[in-house]
């Protein structure tokens, strides 16, 4: 019996390594889920005199979507996010992360603008405060201003159907107080 021990150990190791392959190293569980969305106040992209922030969206279910015109994966998720916004009529605030405003505007006019507001985070400080480390990132916030879900990386249709849409439904059913 004992002679099969090394073989057994090897098989267990193999299984562990195999499951490890399926893990996405970018998918780090965010400690911000379940915490209030960071307080910020930033100039709006199309109206820099106006300040927008977490207060602006108070009381409703909304999504904070971190993007930049230099970010290739943002382009990849853009169509999916736009359709998702259209289907659910969700309020989405774009956080234009470390970008040049003319570039950002050109990008939005080329691909369409699904965001109800775009906050400009030129130096990325709000990004750091929100734990952003890889654009695009999306935070789903409930009526009380608590982050209920965070997704890092480009959103795809499967995530919209399996996670985001049901969660938006649930959050909308909750009361604000």
């Amino acid at each position: 019996m004992i002679r099969y021990l090394p073989l057994g150990g090897f098989v267990i190791l193999l299984a562990l390594l195999y499951f490890g392959l399926g893990n996405d190293p970018r998918n780090i569980p965010s400690p911000l889920v379940g915490k209030p969305v960071p307080v910020f106040s930033l100039p709006e992209l199309y109206d820099p005199a106006k300040k927008v922030g977490s207060e602006t969206m108070k009381g409703k279910v909304w999504m904070l979507s971190v993007w930049a015109s230099w970010c290739v994966s943002c382009r990849a998720e853009h169509a999916v996010v736009s359709q998702f916004v259209k289907d659910t009529q969700l309020d989405v605030m774009g956080l234009n992360y470390k970008d040049e405003s003319p570039d950002a505007k050109a990008w939005l006019s080329q691909f369409g603008n699904p965001y109800s507001l775009v906050a400009v985070d030129a130096d990325g400080l709000v990004g750091i405060d929100s734990g952003v480390y890889g654009v695009p990132e999306s935070y789903l916030v409930d009526k009380k201003g608590i982050i209920r879900h965070k997704f890092t990386g480009p959103i795809n249709q499967k995530i919209v159907d399996d996670t985001l849409k049901p969660l938006v439904q649930t959050l909308r059913g909750e009361t604000a107080s």
Binding site: I2, I28, S30, P31, K35, G124, L125, G127, I128, G131
Partner: protein
């Protein structure tokens, strides 16, 4: 030949600037502050290039985080523990190269010792198993027979 020399010099210059880009020139109020800053740079992980610390990484985010840590240290006068807490609150334990000992990391910390113990247990059983094997007793006839066999091999 001259052209080649110029070219090589250019490459060397490019490499040297890339190597320096990671650490900015910083002024500190006192040597202790510098020590804490340097320590944090080596203990904090860059989340973009996940196998580098903040000191080594050239990623944009790493530079921003270095600036942020510097500011927290010199302007806001936060302590080492407070800065770590600030980053862990936002990025999770992953931002620390040395994970804290707690429930979710218990297996990580205890794992090597468990494996070591397991090794000793296996060793114990293997040794006991071997000792139980019956020793073959040889009488004189067998001895002679073996000797004969061995000698016949030599020929």
């Amino acid at each position: 030949m001259r052209l080649l020399h110029t070219f090589m010099l250019l490459i060397l210059l490019a490499l040297s600037s890339a190597a320096q880009a990671g650490i900015e020139v910083r002024d500190f109020d006192n040597p202790e502050q510098r020590e804490v800053y340097d320590k944090l740079m080596y203990e904090l992980r860059c989340l973009v290039c996940q196998n580098e610390n903040l000191a080594a990484s050239n990623a944009d985010l790493a530079k921003d985080l270095r600036d942020e840590v510097y500011e927290m240290l010199t302007q806001k006068k936060l302590s080492e523990a407070e800065i770590k807490k600030f980053l862990v609150d936002r990025y999770g334990d992953f931002v620390l190269y040395k994970p804290p000992v707690k429930k979710s990391t218990a297996l990580l910390w205890a794992g090597p010792f468990i494996l070591l113990l397991l090794g000793f247990v296996i060793l114990f059983f293997v040794l006991r198993h071997n000792r139980r094997q019956p020793k073959v007793k040889l009488d004189n006839n067998k001895h002679d027979e073996i000797k004969k066999l061995l000698e016949s091999e030599d020929k």
